[in-house]
């Protein structure tokens, strides 16, 4: 009855050329990645990008069509879920409605026939600060409380890897912020590898050490939140993480560590290290908060018109129309030097070369732009 044959492998989680097909549909396309032991890793992408399928393959709930998954030196590709040293926090939590909170958390320990269930469960309950609810049933708890119990139920087993499938999706914004901090604290405290699947870029950036942005079954780009935001390599990443202004142009010169791009008679400078392509056709990109409402920078666009403005507390957001058919978003901090422009005002924009990046111009300029508001 006691099932002690759970593998005890430790080490990095490796996915090597993993693919998953459902009939003709390719959910995960030849994906390889390494998640370092003990890190907080996020798989970020819109719905249908394959992130949940990837997670389920690691959990053992789906079998890959090709490729291998391993923890440390052990191949777990075909291992049954109940043999894996991996636990999951499910979307909508999937707590057992017929068991008390205590028994929910004890479930995994009892299946493995471990001793000292009581103190282990109590420790886990204290970790998520829910000790007083041990004898309740799940349906007597609020969403936020259920969420913590789901985390405790998984963590109590001290898995090598903890998988979180959109764990905060069902919570309201305020509670979600609070749980983001909470999850990060728990991860630091227990030191287990966390793999967090989410479509919420802010959530991923707040918590994860490393983010892999997924689209159409592939990883678009992987790196820290800062790298992905400041130096995106594809239009999808640029648009999906935050907002981005992209201007189509042609590289006319690459020399002295910088590329010169011309577009609509203007020239923009981009550091060569921030040019993600060898092609001549590029998108010049710059984030809205890097734009200044002035006209003496190296990169600037004159004769623009404010067509919309909205005040959002910490900043004022302007929508500005360039002299040709292009709308640019500008965020201006609400401090001294505020321009306080009105709709219809003429304005010039400028930004620094080191805040500029250049992407392959052969992509869809709107890739990933309207995807982050799903669900």
């Amino acid at each position: 009855m006691a099932n002690n044959k759970v593998s005890q492998d430790t080490g990095d989680l490796k996915l090597d050329r993993v693919s998953k097909y459902y009939g003709d549909f390719c959910a995960v396309d030849d994906l390889s990645l390494v998640v370092p032991d003990g890190s907080f890793f996020a798989l970020l992408g819109p719905s249908g990008c394959g992130k949940t399928t990837t997670l389920r393959m690691v959990a053992g709930l789906e079998e890959p069509s090709a490729g291998t998954i391993s923890i440390g030196d052990t191949d777990i590709t075909t291992q049954k879920p109940y043999r894996r040293n991996v636990n999951t926090v499910f979307q909508n939590y999937a707590l057992f409605p017929h068991l008390t909170i205590f028994e929910n958390i004890a479930f995994g320990l009892r299946r493995r026939g471990l001793k000292d269930v009581k103190s282990e469960v109590e420790n886990a309950l204290n970790l998520v600060e829910m000790g007083h609810l041990a004898q309740r049933k799940p349906n007597q708890l609020s969403g936020g409380q259920q969420q913590r119990i789901a985390v405790a139920r998984a963590i109590v087993n001290r898995p090598e890897v903890l998988l979180l499938d959109e764990p905060l999706g069902a919570l309201d914004l305020k509670l979600r912020r609070q749980m983001q901090i909470e999850l990060k604290r728990i991860q630091t405290e227990v030191g287990i590898t966390f793999i967090h699947v989410t479509h919420d870029q802010e959530e991923a950036m707040t918590m994860a050490d490393t983010i892999a942005v997924m689209n159409l079954g592939k990883i678009e780009q992987m790196g820290s939140a800062t790298e992905l935001y400041e130096a995106p390599k594809t239009a999808f990443v640029a648009n999906f993480l935050g907002q981005c202004n992209l201007i189509k142009g042609k590289v006319t010169n690459r020399a002295n560590g910088k590329a010169v791009v011309s577009a609509k008679g203007l020239t923009f400078e981009v550091p060569l290290s921030r040019v993600a392509t060898d092609n001549e056709s590029v998108f010049v990109g710059v984030r809205p908060e890097k734009l200044r409402l002035d006209d003496n920078g190296i990169n600037s666009i004159k004769d623009c018109v404010v067509i919309d403005r909205s005040f959002v507390g910490t900043s004022t957001q302007y929508l500005v129309k360039a002299p040709w058919d292009l709308d640019l978003v500008v965020f201006e901090q609400n401090d001294e030097g505020l321009h306080d422009l009105r709709v219809g005002d003429k304005v010039s924009l400028e930004w620094d070369a080191e805040h500029t990046f250049a992407l392959d111009g052969a992509q869809d300029i709107n890739a990933g732009a309207d995807l982050d508001d799903e669900e």
Partner: protein, 300 residues
């Protein structure tokens, strides 16, 4: 009329609008209430009064006068103890048999049927399109001495040449289990279908293999269906007389057969009424104990 009157005036903000709103639940309840009073409450009092009547000496058959003779109950019970006991044993066996057949069926429909789910559900209730009586008579053919079932069993060595199923208690239990199978299957299906498949995945994720997941998660979560299904099978089966009459023999008579013959053959209304009440009371007590024990009120 009062209802329509109230509606037409309610938007003017007059008091009758409020009044009609408070009347609405009663109006909605009325058809059901009238039906129950006419066809359940009144007959049950009439039956209760009949159960303590006595036939005066030398009077015509079917003439009874009220003498509040409660000893009718004791007489009736003592005369048909055997059939009582048999009814509950047959009903319990049939319920177990139906549960054993229906649970895997409901499980398969709920979790494994894919796009065939609706077709299978229709097939479960399809027998209702033909008459209950006809279906029971059909079983006499299936279980006939030269029929497919008996012939197949006789192939097994050491089975006596005289082996038969028709007109035995086995046939009665089979008939009962068959006739009430949909009442077992549908509640089971409903409770299995409501289980979030992710709780089953969570169980696997938490180191439970398939069998343990069934014992610790699926079965407990389907208990409301098990309780509902067994009640819906056991209660009508205990009072049934058609299966025993068609598939049984004189030694397999159930309490329903006794009540039927007391009412229609012997025309002994007080005994029949007393038996009916005793049956109702016994079922009520058994059901209450059962629900208490299974503790399903705690389940969601």
């Amino acid at each position: 009329m009062a209802f329509l009157h109230g509606l037409s005036k309610s938007h003017t903000g007059s008091g009758s609008g409020l009044k009609s709103r408070s009347l609405t639940p009663y109006i909605l309840l009325a058809p059901g209430l009238i039906w129950l009073i006419t066809f359940f409450i009144i007959p049950i009092f009439s039956l209760a009064s009949t159960s303590t009547m006595v036939r005066p000496e030398g009077s015509q058959i079917g003439t009874y006068v009220q003498e509040l003779r409660f000893a009718n109950y004791i007489d009736a019970f003592l005369a048909s103890r055997e059939q009582y006991l048999r009814s509950f044993i047959y009903a319990a066996l049939a319920t177990l048999l139906a549960l054993a057949i229906a649970y895997p069926l409901a499980y398969a429909i709920a979790f494994k049927s894919g796009k065939f789910r609706n077709i299978l559900l229709v097939l479960v209730i399809a027998p209702f399109f033909t008459s209950f009586l006809l279906r029971t008579i059909a079983w006499t053919q299936i279980l006939a001495d030269s029929g497919p079932v008996v012939s197949a069993i006789k192939v097994i060595p050491f089975i006596d040449e005289t082996f038969r199923i028709n007109n035995t208690s086995t046939a009665v239990v089979i008939g009962l289990a068959y006739n009430f199978l949909p009442f077992m299957t549908l509640p089971l299906y409903a409770s299995l279908e409501r289980i979030d498949p992710r709780t089953l995945e969570a169980s696997g994720d938490l180191y439970a293999n398939g069998l343990t997941t069934f014992r610790k998660v699926t079965l407990p979560l389907s208990m409301p269906g098990v309780v509902a299904g067994t009640l819906l099978t056991f209660i009508p089966a205990a009072g049934d007389y058609v299966n025993a009459a068609i598939l049984g023999n004189p030694n397999t008579k159930m309490i329903g057969n006794v009540i039927e013959s007391r009412f229609f053959a012997v025309v002994d209304y007080p005994t029949a009424a007393a038996l009916s009440f005793t049956l109702m009371a016994t079922i009520l007590i058994l059901v209450t104990l059962y629900i208490r024990r299974s503790g399903t009120d705690e389940l969601v």
